[in-house]
Amino acid sequence: MKRRARLVLAAVATLALVPGLGAAVAQLPRFGAHPLPYGEAINRVAPVERHVTNMVTAVNFDYRGLDTVGEEFMLLTAVTGALVLLRGRRGESVTDSAAEAPGRPIPQRSPALRLLCRCFAPVLLLFGLYVVLHAQLTPGGGFQGGAIIGSGTLLIYLGEDYRIWRRHMRAHLFDAMEAVGALLFLGAGIAPMIAGASFLQNILPLGRTGSLISGGLILIANAGVALAVTGGFVLLLLEFLEETRAAEPEDEA
């Protein structure tokens, strides 16, 4: 179908959608003023039952922890898939050193930028760790913190140079980090079963509400997610940036 034909067809279909959709929209509950039994129940019981103050974390890692298990393995799947797609041509051998694009000048970093990045990188790293560790207390958690740390490693790239970044970012290390994180989370699910409880049921002491060590099993699940997300994000960025440097393809069919 040509582009114009598609647009016409889509427009006609959209028009046909209007009556049904309109009927539904007219019946939608009013924004911000309808009952939310599930969420309210969580807000009511979770601080008492789980000794955490961030309800989103309680839902993510405990009440609906299985969703997050699936989510972590989804990330694992996608990273593995992207590795298959991107490494397929380059092969495994080059992943630990920087590939080179012949004729591509390596831009020199100005000392000011270098200094800025050297100062800023540890700060970002610490901030990411802070976000991870305070999952049960304040906004944030393993996913957000892991994403911050993973993206933060790019500062090394920005401030130093690609080779140095690659030298520090050993792909094997992050592979292992990702797998260990996922296994840790899964283990947090299975370990209670060995003790006779349900999958992901808390069997640890809950700690004092508001302290860094509170929430029981949530802490372990959160750590697993943080590891898996950091590893996964670094691997993804690593592979995509490697693409920008990859040499001319010689080994294609």
Binding site: R30, F31, I42, R64, E71, L86, P139, G210, E252
Partner: protein, 113 residues
Amino acid sequence: MSLLPWTVALWLFAIGLYGVITSRHYVHLIGCLTVVQSSTYVLLLAVGYRWGAGAPIFFDHPPGTPAVDPVVQALVLTDIVVGATVTALLLALALQVHKRRGTVDPDALRPLR
């Protein structure tokens, strides 16, 4: 007025699909997909909103303070991971297709011809 959030979600869904249907560059198409997806974030978070309520975090406020729904927020977190993973895969695919076919125009790509 209270229809605004639903309208915005529908609008984002529709305009994103329009972009997907008319796109001439796969990377652009992938960007349009992220817009389609952002409509689901807006819808879910709007569903969990409660007038005058705060964030579902009882660190500064005592438990019992009116708060919005934490469940939808947890769902949207998963949703965002879905978005990131699918985007990464799509970009990798587009890159490899370009290496093989030399184009990223969706209209020029046909599997098996």
